[in-house]
Point group: C2
Chain length 165, copies 2
Amino acid sequence: MAQPELATLDHESRIAADDHQSIRLWLRLLTCTNLIEKRLRSRLREEFDTTLPRFDFLAQLERASDGLTMGELSARMMVSGGSVSGLATQLESEGLISREPVPENRRTFCVRLTRQGKRRFSEMATQHELWVMEMLGCLNASEVDDLMASLKRLKSCITATEQGA
Amino acid sequence: MAQPELATLDHESRIAADDHQSIRLWLRLLTCTNLIEKRLRSRLREEFDTTLPRFDFLAQLERASDGLTMGELSARMMVSGGSVSGLATQLESEGLISREPVPENRRTFCVRLTRQGKRRFSEMATQHELWVMEMLGCLNASEVDDLMASLKRLKSCITATEQGA
DNA sequence: GAATAATATTTTAAATATAAAATGTTTTGC
DNA sequence: GCAAAACATTTTATATTTAAAATATTATTC
């Protein structure tokens, strides 16, 4: 009974079904990301009176002990140069980062965490990690590994299809 | 040789390792979502001179043939009421949606696609589906199914840890 | 049934996003 | 070496986001 029905699914129908499956996967991915992002956003506001972009800015610097240029920050944070510029102005005025000119290339700046920025970030990072653990922690190690592998493959699929079409 | 080393990983170390793995998973998820979102955003701009939130607004209505209230739209789109309100004002002025009062409850509106909105959305949806296929299409059916299952589990993990902590 | 609480939406204020133009610096090509 | 191109950043103008206040309606409670 099942086989004849399957046989009636022609190539076009199957393609259409796959289409919908792709869309469904994309929507599910988006939902998960939105849920996590919103939770982190509200916790950062409640507990540290800050925002996700500002946290992310500091996090990128924490990972790069030699400092980063504005362009590198823009690429790693995946936001426009204008955004990075505005965030940097704020964080600099709060004393959390420094923006020093580079003698060899006067077009660029080297952005670093200040001592205060490091201290402040580490307070937030500890909590941030707990919040993420809280949300992802019920996945066991092999589930996490599976997801990591699948998403790695997905990422390479996405970047394989180049932007300029 | 491997067992003794594993044995030296005490509970705390293993927890720390898991923490980082959770963060890495979260960042990878975010990267994938950002890549897809940016691509869709720029394509929608280039080809239809519109934005992702506006497309999403219409898409939610397309799926709900009986129309939706502003609050339902807000929940399904996972954005604030204020955003929905602003988007509705725009889309209404462009003639793509209608916002009719509901006699039984004068607080709410019933939002629907207009004929023009349906036509416009279907043009965009066709392309949108192709763009998503383009990015996710290199995953085979079983990879997609695996991801769907993993993300479903992830979603239930996230929502299981309730917001109000 | 009047006062209070809950609900649905819009408006407001502040922050953030982008694209594109402007500015200043370095590199390239002749 | 000078003009043109490429590069890195900031500024500008516009659009979007959110949280919270304001508005209006409905439901509850005593």
